[in-house]
Symmetry: none
Subunit: 139 residues, 4 copies
């Protein structure tokens, strides 16, 4: 019987690193973005809204980050027949918009990042750049 188990916790320095890397990539692409990072508990760790990005993306990217942290999968790959039902039943939390990626370290899902204000592909590209920067720093 496993009462408690060891795990890894995403720290705020990692949250800042992810946000900074995302801002760097988004700036290079010329696409201002809103970026949210959540930990394994789907709780906000860091958030940054870039100048020129979309205000209403604040909730959207938080939900992208939460979805990726909860499923351990990139957002955007659910079957279309399920996405609206999952969105409704989760109060909007579970989203199938591209731009959410899980943060996986040592095989454990320890959080998620959500990016939004560009196209879905741009959002995912910025999120991936942030993840790459974190994994490089951990290597």
């Amino acid at each position: 019987m496993t009462l408690v188990r060891p795990t890894l916790k995403l720290g705020h320095e990692a949250g800042l690193l992810l946000v900074r890397a995302a801002v760097g990539k988004a700036t290079a692409m010329g696409v201002p973005q809103v970026i949210a990072v959540v930990d394994d508990g789907c709780n906000l760790l860091t958030l940054l809204r870039m100048d020129g990005s979309r205000l209403l993306s604040i909730d959207i990217v938080t939900n992208k980050a939460m979805t990726a942290a909860s499923t351990g999968l990139p957002t955007g790959d659910l079957p279309p027949a399920s996405e609206v039902k999952l969105g409704l039943a989760s109060g909007g939390r579970m989203t199938n918009l591209k731009g959410g990626l899980p943060i996986v370290v040592d095989g454990q899902v320890i959080g998620g990042i959500g990016v939004g204000s560009g196209t879905g592909d741009q959002d995912r590209e910025v999120a991936q750049a942030a993840i790459d920067a974190l994994l490089a720093a951990l290597a």
Copy 2:
């Protein structure tokens, strides 16, 4: 004129039995699940989130259980043309995601169980195993 009527009430021991049976089935299947049980008032009786299951399933399975208790039917069988309208108009409560089953005793709907984190078919299979265990204990 029927002012008040006798009814059956689902007790917390039944709620625990359902959760334990669901955990047993989900463990055997290797699919960690979140399980919620509600009574005839659509109020939460027991809830358990298994290690490795999805955080965002907490609200989803509660809504599955409530939908099944409210309709007396398994979730997932609504006509697709209605499911979004019913979801929107009920604030997300009424869901057509598979994995919710009514709890029927002596011909009365006395509650519902909702299971989620797997595929819809896996969720329904775990919910059915829990119902079967309750009916066996009542027989």
Copy 3:
């Protein structure tokens, strides 16, 4: 720079153990209770509403558990001058009602338990009995 750090995660077997111990104590006292257990992310792990307890306690005990997990302290000890302000500013999440206790293992706060439907002192007594049972099982 600490990017990720090792920590402990409360498992669902611990959540069940806490609920069972609380039910045992509440039954012995003759005071039906609602019991909620959350992990370090303030997310529900297990919940049980005993026969004869108060329906509206469901949200209350969840908030007690979240407050204890968030602060690492028993609920009920805030200065009265702050309690209403903290309750309002947290959307009701932070509560100063007695009956919430942090779950502390190896010096880490890894969750919280909230109990309610009795007097504040009864609620705290049941919560403490559950914590004691968990610590005994871990010893």
Copy 4:
């Protein structure tokens, strides 16, 4: 007739600077904090939750920042007779907990910062250190 007027907008670089300065001060004090920065529209610009701070402070500090940006005054100085009424009528947004400070540049209120997880005085001290760092960078 003034139909539109020039104003100053707080940028995300300022939001990052404020968060970094707050983290530096909180680290020096040994008091982990949650920090939120909002612009003149009361919309989140940056947020950071330090390791060891309180999860439930996320909403609280956002509300402190919004209150300070909205009133142009430090939080905590409302007459006690009004604070609960204002909290209730604003859905919890307007708070009189210490730790919120307006961001004032060239005599204009262009945002607010909210800090929380310590005592009210510690929260205000960290917020002030962040404001001081911003004003020094602008000088």
